[in-house]
């Protein structure tokens, strides 16, 4: 597997986990599943609390790739943080925050 793809996959797992960026790169779901299968076989990921996370080996590999790419080619490593995105609200929408979700 090319380092650039591996770098992106490791960043996806470390970040939100969503595959939007991989789909935008044109990969099929089957191919994406194969990618994660590869990460698993190589011991780069592990399951923690039912969630796929980077293993120690995966973290180490990510650090190496971080160095290699020196984060200059940002389009190869930036992964949108989709989890924090919300759908656009209508301008007349009255937002009433859920009291239980407020953290202040």
């Amino acid at each position: 597997m090319k380092d650039a793809i591996l770098f992106k996959l490791l960043l996806v797992v470390k970040g939100s986990g969503y595959i939007t960026d991989l789909k935008k790169d044109g990969y099929s779901y089957v191919r994406i599943a194969e990618f994660f299968n590869y990460l698993d076989k190589e011991g780069l990921v592990e399951k923690k609390d039912d969630k796929l996370t980077l293993s120690n080996t995966g973290m180490k590999r990510l650090k190496e790739l971080n160095k290699k790419y020196d984060r200059k080619h940002f389009n190869q490593w930036i992964v949108p943080e989709d989890r924090s995105r919300v759908d656009k609200l209508d301008k007349n929408f009255v937002y009433l925050p859920n009291q239980n979700e407020l953290n202040f």
Binding site: Y18, F36, K51
Partner: protein, 289 residues
């Protein structure tokens, strides 16, 4: 792909799906890749509640391909051994068909199951090695009731799936209109049956042979409160894709989670309904080719 595409699927889900399909033996067919692609595309159309529900239901979903029919059929027919009064030297096999389907000669999966009774492997089965499976297409060619009572051979209506039991009931009524058999010699044999359909038939005094009995996918699985919430999610989803009232939660509210050679309409229609909008691609379309 649309500019604003935002996948609802994450790495954990994609990796799990693939493993799950391998465990369910769904990945073991030639065109698995487009199937997996279709399933992920199908999931992308769902909101979070729907996605959670469909993933849970898919865990319980059963897909029985034709290559597995012999095992299920053998398992169902082996249950004849509990009826010690029967003479299994000869078994009359008829495809389970409603009167209309039988008269119009319609192409139905029950005909495949009837033909499957001719399988060579039955010659090596301890219970059936000396059995002649006499396949009969026309009810008029069946032996008279007096002969059956004397010979004690079973008359079996076979199918791959019994849903609400409506068709089975109609087929049995038609059979008994033509031949007044003693009910102890009349059987329905199905590879799979919804419990509601099986109960409908057995409560009328008929014998039922089945390999796999299926309960309702939501109502029989969850507590009443949880089931009400989940049914509500499903009904909203069904409304969104334009499901007819009669097929809500599957025909006869069967809440089925099954695909055989084809998918019965008793299965939740989100799995098979094809709306006019091409955006929704069901996983197990019922279209005939």
């Amino acid at each position: 792909m649309a500019k604003r595409f935002k996948s609802k699927l994450d790495a954990t889900l994609i990796a799990e799906l693939n493993e799950k399909f391998e465990r369910k033996n769904w990945s073991n067919f030639r065109d698995y890749d487009p199937f997996f692609e279709g399933y992920c595309g199908f999931l992308e159309n769902l909101n979070d509640d729907e996605l959670g529900l469909i993933l849970e239901l898919t865990d319980d979903y059963k897909w029985i391909m034709q290559r597995d029919y012999h095992e299920y059929l053998t398992d169902a027919l082996e249950k004849l051994s509990s009826y010690s009064y029967l003479n299994l030297d000869k078994i009359y096999i008829l495809p389970l068909l409603s009167k209309q389907d039988r008269e119009k000669g319609r192409d139905k999966s029950s005909r495949i199951v009837a033909y499957q009774c001719m399988e060579t492997r039955f010659n090596y089965h301890p219970l059936f090695s000396n059995t002649i499976f006499q396949r009969v297409d026309s009810l008029e060619l069946l032996p008279r009731a007096t002969k059956i009572s004397a010979d004690k051979n079973p008359i079996i209506l076979v199918d791959d799936y019994v849903g609400t039991g409506e068709t089975a009931e109609s087929a049995l009524n038609h059979l008994l209109e033509v031949r007044e058999y003693d009910l102890q010699y009349v059987f329905v044999a199905s590879l799979v049956a919804q419990r509601i359909g099986m109960t409908r038939i057995t409560s009328q005094g008929y014998n039922f042979l089945v390999s796999l009995v299926r309960d309702r996918g939501i109502s029989d699985k969850y507590s009443p409160t949880q089931a009400a919430i989940k049914k509500d999610i499903m009904l909203h989803l069904e409304e969104r894709i334009g499901i007819d009232k009669k097929n809500e939660l599957g025909y006869g509210q069967s809440e089925g989670l099954i695909t055989m050679i084809r998918t019965p309409n008793n299965t939740f229609p989100v799995y098979w309904h094809e709306p006019k909008s091409k955006k929704w691609q069901p996983l197990f379309p019922r279209k005939s080719r």
